[in-house]
Symmetry: C2
Subunit: 341 residues, 2 copies
DNA sequence: CTGAAAGCGCTTACAG
DNA sequence: CTGAAAGCGCTTACAG
């Protein structure tokens, strides 16, 4: 004996008003009389009725949810406080506007499939550039899109910092401190595209180069590494660096979480930071002040990035034009980078 | 000139098959001929058609999403790695089953409103006990529910560790190390209920008590504090503790993130951990090994908690009975707790 | 202020 | 293997 679900029809019948009136009572009370609202709402309350979200969404042709495309698997994204902070920003703004946040990860390795099935009205992507297949999918679903840490392009919104300048400032600081023997730890290119992209990775490299040129750095003394953007990625690359015949005096990373992974390994191996090796990060995550020594890094407004990306999304949803913004960053000097001679 | 959306009707008409056939081609290809599938799919591909998720969900009467009720505001939840790890577990399992994860926070302070509007098929709550209003809402929406770190009750699933035993073991270790002058930092009661609950907070307290009894501890030497479950909460309570006339030799917390907040303040104030004050945590979050000294704590399987909670949810959704499980924990001895005499 | 009715686009039990 | 048709429960433009 299954109790049937209470629907708008029941409330209409029992309260003596029409379906229209019942709907208005919940969504637009000013359009009907006070008395009608009162009667309807109390009837609804009595029967435990609330407009079915599924039917409501279908009728409104709206999911009431913003999608966030994870740059990595669930696992790595969740282990990266920088990403979490962005998500928090998106979630907070969306929540304030009664929208959900839907986390999207590839389904069966396929972003396309995931995106097709996703119950979202708009999309925020972080840290990855996408190929034409995904771009056309987004277009065919007419999904308003904002790219965080991506490549600003004309038809979608974007949120960035000046990655080139930030990287340049950080590298200048490193060189200023006398370091010449560097290990640079880059991040993998997460583009879903074959063409050479021109994203934040390339911008930061350019920033480094300009600093090298300015300080007349002998490029022979610089070694490059690449690792996953995670604590584990940092751990792995640290062991690689330690195996080198000549240790660097400074390790320059593109992410705090990677830097922290590296620091853990160095410390465990009896290497003093920063006396033997300096380490610098990027992002200024909360953890960067409770590792020891505290991390010298570039502060970028992660929460703000997410928050403002969501804001732009809502503007587009309201019919406004997609904005492209640049947020401020700043160099944060702490103890993990030491002056040498 | 707005291009009309391609629907199942268009594909049916153009491919020369019925709507039924089109639907089967996508969802149940074995029910129609290979040729039909091929024709329909290629027609769909040509027109960029994909079954509308909104209509699909409405028809199926299914949101394809699991709700996760945040124990705190967005902000604090995201700053707590223990919570994030649970969410990761839930998200991973759900994702593997093509379900979304919907994060739910109170709307206008109201959990009830948030829950009514939520587009979810089932609910996972963490760390809070709910009152009859919420319970009846869950029941009226027929939401399968699993409580993590809650109070196991008959009609919903539950995932816990043996909090009493875990707390007892940790406290015994503290007492074993010779500490008698303790500061115990408890967490706020997050129950949405007026009645005295009997959740993990009470269980842990009981665990402490039994250790005290066993070691014949003079309860006069123990002071109690309460603070929010966050880094900031730890910072705040640390300042309170430092203002006391007599400092404790050990601070016992109920959460690593709180412990880490406390450690930061102690260190900044020139207090050596563990030589002057020992600190112990709870949870064994990833960060607990990269603070210095590394944190002595109770390890509990946060990711597993989320993963298995989701698993139980899917069982209930399939009509099985809600299981109540207990996961293992273990004491992790590191350097933040020191033997004194 | 009020209500009848169209429309949102699928899925699937059922009959053939 | 195939298709006609019912059903999912709302919102809102429109007429009164």
């Amino acid at each position: 004996m299954k109790k049937k679900k209470v629907t708008i029809n029941d409330i209409a019948r029992i309260s003596g008003y029409s379906k229209t009136a019942v709907s208005f009572a919940f969504n637009n009370p000013s359009k009907i009389s006070k008395e009608a609202v009162k009667t309807i709402l109390s009837t609804a309350e009595k029967l435990g009725y609330f407009p079915d979200p599924l039917a409501r969404r279908f009728s409104l042709q709206r999911h009431e949810s913003i999608g966030f495309l994870l740059p990595q698997t669930y696992h790595y994204s969740f282990k990266n406080p920088y990403i979490m902070s962005i998500i928090e920003g998106v979630g907070t703004f969306s929540h304030n506007h009664f929208y959900n946040l839907t986390l999207i990860a590839p389904i069966n390795e396929s972003v396309t499939t995931a995106l097709q099935r996703a119950a979202i009205d708009a999309l925020i992507v972080q840290g990855l550039n996408f190929d034409t297949e995904i771009a056309s999918l987004i277009k065919s679903r007419k999904l308003p899109t904002v790219a965080i840490d991506g490549i600003p392009s004309l038809d979608i919104g974007s949120v960035n910092i000046d990655d080139k300048k930030a990287a340049n400032e950080l590298m200048q600081e490193v060189l200023q401190c006398g370091h010449r023997n560097l290990a640079i730890v880059e991040l993998p290119d997460l583009s879903y595209t074959k063409e050479k992209s021109h994203g934040i990775l390339e911008l930061r490299s350019e920033g480094y180069q300009e600093a090298f040129d300015r300080y007349n750095v002998d490029k022979e003394s610089i070694s490059y590494y690449k690792t996953e953007c995670s604590f584990t990625g940092g751990v792995e690359v640290a062991y690689k660096i330690l195996k080198m015949p000549k240790l660097p005096t400074c390790i320059v990373t593109m992410s705090d979480i990677v830097a922290i992974g590296i620091m853990t390994v160095l410390t465990k191996n009896g290497i003093n930071i920063p006396n033997q090796i300096s380490v610098v990060g990027f992002d200024n995550i909360g953890e960067s002040i409770y590792v020891s020594p505290r991390l010298t890094t570039v502060s970028q407004p992660s929460y703000e990035k997410g928050f403002q990306a969501a804001q732009i999304i809502f503007e587009i949803l309201k019919g406004e034009k997609a904005r492209q913004i640049k947020l401020p960053h700043s160099l944060v000097k702490r103890e993990s980078l030491k002056k040498i001679d």
